[in-house]
């Protein structure tokens, strides 16, 4: 079955959507700017220098040294603390640590499992061509990947391993270098996590923007996770295209998936949540919030949109979150 231009746009929109949840790597960007400024100054100094070549060489060496190892870009914090908590009270405890050396293409190690979900943190030497992490349970052939399937190289957030079978006592973690990656040293921490015994109250649901990209807000509805985690909106069918944006709050922002139904039919597009703070971004347009374009059923007087938060990890039902769904009308001609 062919896909049309709108679906093609949706496809690119969907695949690039995780960009909205990736934090800006300020430290790296500032370090690059500092290095660039330093090099510029060095070049200017060299251009003006008329001293002997030996002296010039010494100057070059002394200027290039700090640029290669900017002290401010070195994190002094332990990337793999033995134990830490997320703001919603979930406690992460380290169960293993591993290193993928530049000379190796793969590292495999076993971890003890105590019935708690596992998650992986990474200390990344680069953000390009990440290693691939899989977990197996001895005696079975199934592989359990990360969810979402990539490491978080920005803020060292632990990324979950898909749930292992009940009763698992031991798991084998395999980390394989990307075939395109340059040999570098990657470090990993494997954590088990426990949600708080008493769940905190969810944060207030985000207020949707009154308009995005000039599209007026038609309807909005909020819900809390895990109590309901579902909203239903019904809007009149005026023949104009609709855009759906979902805003989420809480620590589960990058961890829950959504199921969307339009007039009781599931749609292929599965957008993630837009962070609550993005709604205040005045520059956020079509490429800002995560937008799902809704097709209209001709002949229907109303369009009913249901958004449901779902997760493959049952322990997330002990962590609080919020969901706000907003439907915007796309004026004709856009």
């Amino acid at each position: 079955m062919p896909i049309d231009r709108l679906e093609f746009h949706d496809l690119m929109d969907e695949r690039s959507r995780p960009a909205l949840e990736r934090p800006i790597p300020w430290q790296s960007l500032r370090a690059r700017i500092r290095r660039s400024r330093r090099r510029r100054r060095a070049v200017a100094a060299l251009a003006g220098a008329v001293t002997a070549s030996l002296v010039i060489s010494a100057t070059v060496l002394s200027l290039r040294g700090p640029g290669q190892s900017d002290p401010t870009s070195v994190s002094i914090a332990d990337p793999f603390p033995a134990r830490y908590s997320e703001p919603d009270g979930t406690v992460y405890r380290k169960v293993a640590e591993a290193t993928l050396d530049p000379a190796s293409t793969k590292v495999t190690f076993d971890v003890d499992v105590r019935g708690k979900p596992l998650a992986i943190r990474a200390d990344c030497p680069t953000k390009a061509w990440q290693p691939w992490v899989t977990v197996r349970v001895p005696g079975t052939s199934k592989k359990y990947r990360l969810e979402p399937p990539f490491l978080d190289c920005h803020d060292n957030r632990a990324v979950d391993v898909l749930p292992l079978p009940q009763g698992t006592r031991r798991a084998t973690v395999t980390i394989e270098a990307h075939k395109k990656a340059r040999p570098e040293r990657w470090r990993f921490g494997v954590y088990e996590w426990t949600p708080p015994a008493t769940m905190k109250a969810p944060p207030p649901p985000p207020e949707p923007a009154a308009a995005i990209a000039g599209w007026p807000l038609l309807a909005t509805e909020s819900s809390t996770w895990p109590v309901t985690g579902e909203v239903t909106l019904t809007v009149p069918n005026t023949g104009r295209q609709l855009a759906l944006v979902t805003y989420c709050g809480g620590d589960l922002i990058r961890r829950l998936e959504q199921e969307i139904r339009v007039n009781s039919r599931p749609i292929n597009t599965k957008p993630g949540c837009t962070a609550a703070s993005l709604q205040t971004d005045p520059g956020a347009t079509q490429a800002g919030p995560k937008v799902a374009y809704i097709r209209l059923d001709s002949g229907q007087r109303t369009t009913t949109i249901q958004v449901r938060l779902v997760t493959k990890i049952p322990q997330y039902r002990h962590r609080p979150g919020t969901l706000t769904a907003a439907v915007y009308e796309i004026p004709q001609g856009q």
Binding site: I3, D4, R5, S16, I24, P25, R40, R145, P149, G283
Partner: protein, 179 residues
Amino acid sequence: MADRSEYEAFVTGAWPRLLRTAYLLTRDWGAAEDLVQTALLKAWLAWPRIGHEREAYIRKIMVNVHVSWWRRRWRRAEVTSGSLPDRTQEADHMGQADVRESVWQALGRLPARQRAVVVLRFFEDMTEAQTAQTLGCSVGTVKSQTSRALAKLRLDDSFDFMVAKEAGQCPSTGWSSTT
């Protein structure tokens, strides 16, 4: 000299949009961030000289840097080994998810310049003239690159734009009607 606070405010607002474009160009989150940072660094150095069209300026740098990276990789004869999947797609009953995956893979096989044209035209919704300005080429080149890209996507038997009927022509209108 550049106003640093203005620069940071700009980066804060534009980062997600630039990263989305960069990811569609590079198909790797790390490479995408590297590309955006490279473009933002170049922009920072030229900040006092950049006019109001800052995002367009940076997008132009990104596209051209990406094409040059791609050429360098190509010359070193690195073989594309198939990047890691972004997210597994569970096949649906209608096979639509498989079609989408095929189109996504086909898009990834396009040469850098053709992929850039497709991303700018069909994701950024740029006109042919805007795309030509961003890529630093003529409108005719944009048309021919678009046509070739669409032809390649169609050759995968997985793609059929509504504009396909316009054989050899580059679509110049906005959204097609898909109700």
